[in-house]
């Protein structure tokens, strides 16, 4: 029971890891992209469309998954490149652009999801074979080890990918010179520019990579959580939770893994833990209430202060005076 609960928590937390790490990378460069939710919608619908198209082309199994993966990542990159263009090149307020991307992305997701559904006569779904690729792996010998085997070696490939992405992001940000320069751009773009670091380049690249991860988070929601079926409003606030999780994990990709899994657990708690007398619908409220409380506690303890990139949310223009 507990093991099942933990496994389900990891499965529910994985897209949060992806989106949170993506947003951490973006925010490290000083850009705050509030369009995570919209980017996830776009990634979700693009990956589904990619999968369906690949199936039509006669691909199967991992081929479909690969196309779906690329579509999800690419759509996220395009969306965030648009965000970058609006904020970095055209210097529009980052909050506003992020919100537009959320509204537009939600629209695009639902629009094409429904359009594909109409085309397929009712609702759209991938084949069972494709679904199988996105369900858990089985490593002979390892996966059957009781408890540990189940806890560590039973997930789908995307879970391992998201953990790898978090580790890679951590390593790059904290241990490499690229990370040091990225931090400098986010902390003080004027200093970074004077030191010869291209603020524009770093912000674009960070936003686009972050967007790719958010797109993949959307793909996860669609292909894994909803097993390749378009569900209206399928992201349901995961993107915004990721924005909050960035704060909880103090802009640290490693911490984001733990925070995401805790929130994954909150999301699926209703199915596993029954508290007598408690209205089951309170459970669905839980992640949002907990998020609110944690945001408040973080602000009271001022833990975010030391980690927040100093220039977060400010557009940079060298000749501004």
């Amino acid at each position: 029971m507990i093991i099942n609960f933990l496994i389900a928590a990891v499965l529910a937390g994985a897209p949060l890891v992806l989106a949170t790490v993506g947003e951490i990378i973006t925010e490290k460069s000083g850009n705050i992209n509030l369009g995570v939710e919209g980017t996830m919608y776009i990634g979700a619908v693009a990956s589904l469309a990619g999968a369906v198209a690949a199936e039509k082309l006669g691909l199967s199994g991992f081929g479909v998954a690969a196309v779906s993966f690329i579509a999800g990542a690419l759509s996220g990159m395009i969306t965030s490149a648009l965000f970058g263009f609006m904020t970095i090149s055209l210097r529009v307020n980052q909050n506003v652009v992020g919100l537009i991307i959320t509204i537009m992305g939600t629209g695009i997701g639902n629009f094409f999801g429904e359009l594909m559904g109409q085309g397929a006569g009712g609702y759209i779904s991938v084949t069972d074979e494709t679904k199988a690729v996105f369900s858990g792996i089985h490593i002979p010998g390892l996966s059957s080890v009781p408890v540990i085997g189940e806890l560590l070696f039973s997930y789908n490939g995307m879970v391992y990918f998201s953990l790898a992405a978090a580790l890679a992001a951590f390593f790059i940000i904290k241990k490499t010179k690229i990370g040091l320069k990225l931090t400098a751009v986010g902390e003080n773009p004027y200093a970074a520019d004077a030191a010869g670091v291209s603020v524009t380049k770093y912000r674009y690249i960070a936003s686009v990579i972050g967007g790719a991860l958010c797109g993949l988070a959307g793909m996860y929601m669609c292909m894994v959580t909803n097993s390749g079926v378009w569900v209206h409003g399928c992201i349901s606030g995961y993107g915004w939770l990721a924005v909050a999780l960035v704060i909880f994990s103090a802009w640290n990709p490693l911490k984001s893994i733990f925070c995401s899994i805790i929130f994954g657990a909150l999301m699926i708690m209703r199915l596993y833990i029954a508290i007598p007398g408690l209205n089951p619908f309170i459970y669905d409220m839980c992640p949002y209430i907990v998020t609110s409380i944690v945001i408040i506690i973080t602000s009271i303890r001022k833990t975010g202060k030391d980690h927040i990139p100093e220039s977060l949310g400010e557009n940079y223009y060298r000749e501004e005076r």
Partner: protein, 506 residues
């Protein structure tokens, strides 16, 4: 001597204003050139073009007689031009080593230890002291400047440009900086110093390049000129650099501060056990490295920062008040005569995006009863101030952020002088202003002194403080390092007090 840097007909405009109009400058190897000009004369724009921050509208730059394009700070680095800007370009959450690391390409260094060694080598060679592993945010202003200079040298700067380097330093720190500059000159480096302080020009430079209102005026050999000639060329007319100091006789104490302490914004010590008396008709100058508690002191007296211990007493004509922690609302109701011109004029003293009328009622809008805002009286005051202080503005409904720095200050000072009939607190009132505006403000303050107002003047230019004030109080490390008579004190003594953190009261 060999020419290393030359600009030909550099032009740059911002909006309709031509801030650099056909600037030709020639710098030789091993030369220390002072670029002299008032605030707003275009000095900083010029070096920003040489440093790659701005791109010129037209004109060209030659390095060692070859034409070069400098489109970014990186281009300037490659050529060997290092700029130390007035606002340091350092990442404050990182240490010195990391700040230099991001500025170097991978080929230019092996590892962190290599950078650390180079920092200590450069420091030893030119006579700096620096701790490479200290975080920038924990450094003093002078340490940060040292890091900037070392960074430029490690990056291979042959030309070093320093923008107003002494503005934030004590006299002692300035003279040790000058020693470093001289030893760099000996090493064959060329140096440009941007400044508006005449004495410094005479102390350090070989040649003086004078600018006024975006134009080139003249180049003089330092050894063949004097302070008067420089001032005259810089301002464009003969100026008397005399600050009036009228003595006011009927002195009585209007404000006494007893052992006050407070917290700063980040909850560290803001003020620690500060006591002094303030008399009518005197200007008490406050000197000190910026961030030594001046801001907190002004705000405590004005009632907008909480005093954690101690008392502030106010002796008005109507009687004596204990005004410790009395909020602005209480002060309005009891008609206390306090005026306060904060350091950040547009960000704190005024509503930047609003017009003069709305700015006039900022402190008094609650005086009249009812839910509605009454603007009529404010419009009259605005018109009166425009006339009285000769404020250049298209009208009373122009947003104040559109006005020039000097006029913004007049709006603010004008409002506060009207409010501050007993006590007037002014914080860095001439920062960023040209000489004419500065002297106009010194004269206004002297007028107020004649009327019997007690004035607290927080300043950075020790010469001005010594000429204008009656007494000078030096703050260091959030306490009083000493209170002296402005007429007899020496600059060196003030400088030594500024870095004295033990806090002895004389």
């Amino acid at each position: 001597m060999e020419v290393v840097l030359e600009t030909k007909n550099l032009c740059k405009s911002f909006g309709a204003v031509m801030v650099n109009d056909k600037i030709n400058l020639t710098l030789h190897r091993g030369e220390i050139m002072a670029v002299l000009g008032e605030n707003g004369s275009g000095k900083t724009t010029l070096i920003n073009m040489i440093g790659g921050i701005y791109y010129p509208d037209s004109g060209s730059i030659y390095y060692e007689n070859k034409r070069v394009e400098i489109r970014s700070p990186k281009d300037a680095d490659r050529l060997g031009i290092g700029v130390v800007h007035q606002h340091f370009k350092l990442v404050s959450s990182m240490d010195a080593v990391e700040n230099i690391e991001i500025a170097l390409s991978d080929k230019e260094y092996k590892n962190k230890a290599d950078i650390r060694k180079r920092i200590t080598d450069v420091a030893k060679k030119y006579g700096f002291t620096v701790n490479p592993d200290k975080k920038i945010c924990d450094m003093s202003v002078s340490e940060k400047q040292t890091v900037e200079i070392i960074k430029a040298i490690i990056k291979g700067a042959e030309i070093l440009i320093l923008d107003e380097p002494t503005a934030v330093l004590t006299p002692q720190e300035s003279s040790s900086l000058f020693n470093v500059i001289r030893s760099m000159k000996k090493d064959g480096k060329s140096i440009i110093i941007i400044t508006h302080k005449l004495q410094e020009v005479l102390d350090i430079s070989d040649n003086v390049y004078i600018m006024r209102k975006g134009r080139y005026i003249d180049t003089l050999k330092t050894s063949e000129t004097d302070e008067n000639e420089l001032a005259c060329k810089m301002v464009g007319k003969t100026v008397t650099l005399q600050i009036a100091r009228t003595s006011y006789e009927k002195k009585k104490t209007v404000l006494s501060v007893h052992n006050i302490s407070c917290l700063s914004d980040d909850k560290t010590v803001g003020l620690s056990d500060v006591s002094f008396d303030l008399k009518s008709g005197e200007i008490l100058g406050i000197a000190g490295i910026s961030g030594s508690g001046q801001k907190e002191l002004c705000e405590c007296i004005d009632g907008i920062r909480e005093v954690t211990s101690g008392k502030i007493k106010y002796y008005a004509e109507e009687g004596n008040f204990d005004i410790t922690n009395k909020k602005p609302e209480w002060r309005r109701k009891n008609k206390t005569g306090f005026g306060f011109v904060p350091e950040d004029r547009l960000g704190m003293g005024l509503i930047a995006s609003s017009d003069m009328v709305d700015n006039m009622v900022l402190k008094s809008y609650k005086d009249e009863a009812g839910a509605f805002l009454h603007r009529k009286k404010a419009a009259d005051i605005a018109k009166y101030l425009i006339k009285k202080l000769d404020i250049a503005t298209p009208g009373i409904h122009t947003p104040v952020r559109m006005l020039s720095g000097g006029n913004v200050q007049k709006v603010l000072l004008g409002r506060e002088i009207e409010a501050g009939r007993d006590v007037l607190i002014v914080s860095y009132p001439v920062r960023g202003l040209d000489i004419n505006s500065s002297y106009m403000i010194y004269n206004l303050l002297d007028e107020e002194r004649k009327r019997g107002t007690a004035i607290i003047f927080v300043g950075e230019d020790l010469d001005v403080l010594m000429a204008l004030s009656d007494r000078i109080m030096v703050m260091a490390d959030h306490r009083i390092a000493g209170i002296t008579d402005a007429r007899t004190v020496t600059k060196d003594y003030l400088g030594s007090l500024m870095t004295d953190t033990k806090g002895q009261v004389i």
